[in-house]
């Protein structure tokens, strides 16, 4: 059992005697020609810069323009030199901090004992929750000029958090790669919009129905794909997402096709509309009307919906069904051999995940007041999936971080006007958002292949019963 002993928690024991000596031998004195020295780093960076100069001379340094009667050559020395400098600086920084250092910054930070990191993550969770609860007032107090914009952004991020949490049930817990999650989002949105248009339903009445309808569609999708896994499942769910969108687009008489549905009612606060004048929310409570009320109200609705999603997921994880989802992700054959009904387990995962997607869709419809099939393209599915994967499959807090970074990050690009002074007036950072998006994904996957939060919290712990029987004491084991 020698192999198993490596797992024993002995790593924190300080080496003594012979072991300590062996450790000392492993760190030889720095050789004269230390590859980690600054000079070596600079030399290496200089070589890289030289190569960049040679390679980039024709690509960057020379520009051809079509001129009357042929091509016109133009030298761009500035750009060429800048590119060389960028390569030099980049290579030097990488050398100093990552490649040629004794302490690379990419080296895994030694995680403390389980208890320590758990407290940290717990504290972080409660801090985030507390901030989420006071967020609208935080913005109205500290950013009175921009509060509307910020709260609107918070609503958007919160919607993606909710979608991420919903998809996390299907992809993160049950391990069913679903590329068509946006279909349920669309079903939820259109359920509410159509119920409101044809039957005059309000938001609160339509919300459960939209969730139910989305769950039904989840089951309808679930049945044909029960036997599929991995890539095949992904393809079929992708197709399903597109089918829903195309149907919404082409069923003109019912859904108004590409024109979309407008005039979707706003949610009411226990029957009170958030409007100006008589009978409105502000009038009832005797406060001055302010359009920000509606944003704050919408924010709290999506926060509540998202928190419900999270609570339900966390609760389910501790129940047999949630455990079965995770086991299904790990090994389907083992699940079946343990008597798990894999069909029902998958269907519940699809249905519950879809239901939360439907709720989020209804909210989206009421927030926008207008929906059209354009809002439910594959790109949405991809973004939601990216949030789940980047956050760390199955991690709830990871989804929050990834949503804030990705959705918030894209919005942040709109506020980088100062970059125009650097890159010229035609530069619009928003145009590069997909490039940055992709780059961020590649980088995260390189550094943290299992997502930002890759630790998985066990759903159950073994509580040892301290039973000190006479037989144990006799053998001296009664500790």
């Amino acid at each position: 059992m020698a192999a198993s002993n490596t797992n024993a928690p002995t790593s924190d024991v300080t080496p003594v005697g012979a072991q300590a000596e062996a450790e000392a031998h492993r760190l030889p004195p720095a050789p004269a020609n230390n590859p980690h020295s600054l000079a070596a780093s600079v030399r290496d960076a200089a070589i890289a810069a030289f190569l960049a100069g040679v390679l980039g001379f024709f690509f960057i340094g020379v520009r051809t323009d079509i001129a009357p009667g042929g091509l016109d050559l133009r030298m761009r020395w500035g750009a060429w030199i800048v590119s060389i400098l960028v390569v030099f600086a980049g290579r030097l920084l990488l050398n100093i901090f990552v490649w040629k250092t004794d302490k690379p910054i990419t080296r895994r930070v030694k995680t403390g004992s389980g208890g320590m990191s758990e407290t940290v993550s717990k504290t972080l969770k409660y801090a985030l929750l507390a901030f989420a609860l006071i967020l609208p007032f935080f913005f109205t107090t500290f950013f009175p000029g921009k509060d509307r914009q910020f709260i609107d952004l918070a609503i958007l991020i919160m919607t993606y958090i909710m979608l991420g949490w919903g998809l996390n049930i299907v992809v993160g817990l049950a391990g069913l790669l679903d590329l068509g999650y946006v279909a349920f989002y669309a079903v939820g949105a259109y359920s509410f919009a159509l119920l409101a248009q044809y039957l005059d339903f309000g938001f609160w009445l339509a919300l459960p129905l939209a969730g139910l309808l989305a769950a039904t569609w989840g089951m309808i999708l679930g049945f044909p794909v029960l036997r599929l896994r991995g890539d095949y499942l992904a393809i079929v769910t992708l197709a399903f997402g597109e089918i829903i969108r195309v149907v919404l687009l082409n069923w003109y008489e019912f859904t108004k096709g590409p024109d979309g549905i407008s005039g979707i009612p706003k949610p009411t606060f226990f029957g009170l509309e958030l409007k100006r004048g008589e009978g409105g929310f502000a009038d009832f409570f005797g406060i001055a009307y302010d359009p920000i009320h509606r944003f704050i109200f919408l924010y709290y609705i999506i926060l509540a919906l998202a928190l419900i999603t999270n609570l339900v997921t966390m609760r389910l994880r501790r129940l047999p069904i949630g455990r079965a989802w995770e086991a299904l992700r790990e090994d389907e054959i083992a699940c079946r051999s343990l008597g798990i009904n894999t069909r029902n387990t998958k269907l519940t995962a699809f249905a519950i995940g879809a239901m939360f997607g439907g709720f989020a869709g209804s909210f989206f419809a009421t927030r926008q007041g207008f929906i059209s099939p354009e809002s439910f393209t594959f790109l949405e599915s991809a973004i939601i999936l990216a949030i789940v994967v980047l956050g760390g499959l199955g991690s709830q807090i990871g989804v929050v971080i990834a949503s804030v970074v990705m959705i918030g990050g894209i919005e942040l690009l709109r506020n980088l006007g100062f970059l125009q002074q650097v890159f010229g007036s035609g530069f619009d950072p928003v145009q590069y958002r997909m490039l940055i998006f992709g780059l961020a994904m590649v980088l995260i996957m390189v550094w943290k292949p299992r997502g930002l939060v890759s630790t998985r919290e066990p759903s159950a712990v073994y509580k040892e019963k301290k039973r000190i029987g006479a037989d144990m004491v006799a053998q001296g084991e009664g500790h």
Partner: protein, 244 residues
Amino acid sequence: MSGAAELLLAVRGVETYYGNIVALRGVDMDVHRGEIVTLIGANGAGKSTLMMTICGDPRARKGRIVYDGMDITQMPTHEIVSHGIAQSPEGRRIFPRMTVMENLQMGAALVDPDHFDKDIEKVFKLFPRLKERIAQRGGTLSGGEQQMLAIARALMSRPKLLLLDEPSLGLAPLIVKQIFDAIRELNEKEGLTVFLVEQNAFHALKLAHRGYVMVNGVITMSGTGAELLKKEEVRAAYLEGGRH
């Protein structure tokens, strides 16, 4: 073993196919209550297929499988398991990212939760090492521990019949001995019926009350473990070179 023991599992004329390829060509086999029965044979003989067919995945195309008086031939796997057949599948197939505790909980998925505390103490007694590893992820266990976990997980479902597929696969002789000792203990103390599929013919036949030899999807020989061990054909085919 008394000869008049009650029949727990009867396999009659079972034929199983993978697509058009025949894997089992009419297998007959009996397992009595309280017995350890082993099935030995070369790679690809169909041993694992028989075990999986008993669990209904794949289904038998012909023949009948009767367990405890019930015809389970056409039953879905999860129902078969709910009637008290537990399986430790080939290659262990523990849940690598879940803890030992959660793996054991999955084993007890179909059992009244009231039994859980008592049952888990029982498997800890059998495999004390699992208790030390209780909060560890399944994937971080050594091969022997994973095998113990796979058996323990199967035991958590309170089976009447335990199916084990090559528990000795890839394990050091000392660990194989530990695991086989545990199987013997379960059989002797708890009266658990065990059906053991093995390549390690020598150990399996020494452990088992009775054995079957499978070649190309048919049973070619059967008898008590000791009888089979003495047979020249068995020795030549499965033991020479394998014995230590």
